[in-house]
Subunit: 364 residues, 2 copies
């Protein structure tokens, strides 16, 4: 298979991305296609003693910055590494795409260039929250407002990804909510609870903020606004608490010395809260695998993201999602039809009741 | 002044609440009114050698449990400690009310029995997030859906509380959002950003999840759904990270021994993430001080909550809020009038333009 990498994306572009791609080539023995400014890529590789033999380099003269509007990917930046890479994926010149760039542009580009799976109403970003029992959060920022049907689709797609790509058997799905009871939340959560209870997923109910870190579920669905706040807060809280802990332990010479012996484990704990460790977040609902690597990704994170892209492609979950979404679309149409029929019956009965009343009244 | 305490509320009722009230009486030398089952209170006090001299006990036979619907406080549980206490506050038999009970019932009861300050559209819960630089989160759960005008009122009330009760000069107000730019967020955040920029508060802009723990602002406004998730996630993440840290340090005999010497400081860190340390959350927007203590409150937490109730009463911020809200109401009416006038002018101009076109057409 062929992985397309947007090497001009993220804070450490392009050197760390080139390194990551070359490491992935050696480790996984799959073809890598580097998209970006060819001269910059070749010069940097030369200067750093990196060999590009057996790696295809595709020239794209411009880059989409983190500040640019999402739609630039299909408007004035069609010659950017992201846009060129996505077009290659759409045209079948590669099997999966990895970028550490502008999230909004990546979602817009994936949707408009590569397209959603038929029947999927919204594509979303699925990010692993790095607890002892990892939990896939979807949507973590693509769709600020969603419908219960969107959440049902997120739940199905997230479940397939957790099972087939991350190896979690029969993943438990939770709904982010402000209480555990079925009637809690906004209209969105109340309706989504009912819909998820009927859906073809292992729904375990509402999950409150305080329970999220303790492995109560494997897939956590919510709107992209709440998801984005949760995801970034996880990063912030991790950094804050580990920093405070370091300060407390550092005030005492004994603990300071003894913690030196634990450096490896403490470093590991710190890394556990670095989202790049989980190898990037898939955009679920797009017809081909697209992986968003963290903006701060180094070579290791890019290599991990490429590994996920390979696993995602091999898992074949997009075929399962396509089958599900056709059924889901049909069942939604059926439910809408049933609602309309019930409505007609109700109206007819009401009209009949009114007529009876009108007929009876004069006699009364 | 007189503080009314719902001693039957929370997980540790009534003994810890009686203890807390008696400690507060000694520490702050103000009158305490304990509301609850009088026989239970007196028997427990006797058994535990607690002297109720100089403390008024008011009998209320029933209790609202954590599971009961919010409106029970004004329906079938009018004889509950919470309802009786709130009526005493409304009637002027006390100056402030403290409860560790059912949050929904407390908000409903405070709104329907004690009433909101005139002009305040929604009362909200304001909770201190326990970072190095404490930050007041409002709303943390009372109103799942809000308007930009609600957020503007929260920002003003939260600012007055931070300045006058917690002593933060010219508190900085942030809006929880999924990005820092002005145009980020849902329609709610986009509109609230504009409204907060014009408001009589020190608005510093949008705050992303990853920045919340690092003291970027003193008051953080958001809807009650997002606020509730944030608040409970803070608790969960704190517990999770400190637990993991303990496990890591505990695996090594050297760190385990040296950490024993740090027990006090580590315990302090743990407590910093216990919301009860901040002495309860005020319901801002209610005409008299109502403080929600954490459900798990012990005697110390109750004493702290009573301290906040005293500070809140003495601060006189409710008078400031009343003056603000009248002005806010007037300015909102004025803004609505201006919008309506502009609309009329626009329509008149359009009609005139249409007439001109119609008159010109036949000649063309």
């Amino acid at each position: 298979m062929k992985i397309i990498i947007d090497v001009m994306s993220g804070d450490n572009a392009p050197l760390e991305l080139i390194r990551g791609a070359l490491q992935a080539r050696r480790a996984f023995d799959e073809e890598m296609i580097l998209v970006g400014d060819e001269q910059v890529i070749r010069t940097l590789a030369d200067e750093n003693g990196l060999h590009l033999d057996g790696v295809r380099v595709v020239h794209a003269p411009s880059v989409i910055s983190m500040e640019e509007p999402a739609l630039s990917v299909v408007r004035d930046k069609k010659d950017s590494s992201m846009s060129v890479g996505l077009h290659m994926l759409a045209n079948g010149e590669g099997d999966a795409f990895v970028s550490a760039g502008n999230t909004g542009a990546l979602i817009a580009g994936a949707t408009l260039i590569v397209h959603r799976i038929k029947g999927i109403q919204r594509a979303g970003i699925a990010t692993v929250l790095p607890f002892t029992n990892p939990c896939l959060l979807m949507d973590s920022g693509a769709n600020l407002e969603v419908t219960p049907a969107n959440l049902e689709q997120f739940a199905f797609m997230g479940s397939r990804y957790m099972e087939k790509v991350l190896g979690v058997k029969n993943p438990r799905v939770g709904l982010v909510n402000n209480g555990s009871e079925a009637n809690k939340g906004r209209e969105l959560e109340v309706d989504a609870y009912l819909q998820l209870s009927d859906a073809d997923v292992n729904f375990i109910g509402n999950v409150e903020g305080r329970d999220i870190p303790f492995g109560v579920c494997d897939v956590l669905v919510t709107d992209g606004f709440t998801g984005n706040i949760l995801l970034k807060y996880t990063e912030g809280m991790g950094r804050f608490l580990l920093g405070t802990m370091k300060d407390v332990l550092g005030t005492n010479i004994l603990t300071r010395l003894s913690c030196l012996s634990m450096k490896g484990k403490l470093h590991h704990l710190k890394n556990a809260f670095d989202p790049s460790e989980y190898g990037g977040a898939p955009l679920l609902g797009i017809s081909k695998p697209v992986i968003k690597a963290h903006g701060a990704s180094d070579d290791m994170a890019i290599k991990n993201a490429i590994r996920r892209a390979i696993d995602f492609y091999r898992s074949g979950i997009n075929r399962e999602i396509a089958v599900f979404s056709l059924g889901h679309e049909a069942s939604m149409k059926q439910r809408a039809k049933a609602r309309a029929r019930n409505e007609r019956i109700r109206e007819k009965a009401e009209r009949a009741a009114r007529r009876r009343e009108e007929n009876e009244e004069p006699q009364a």
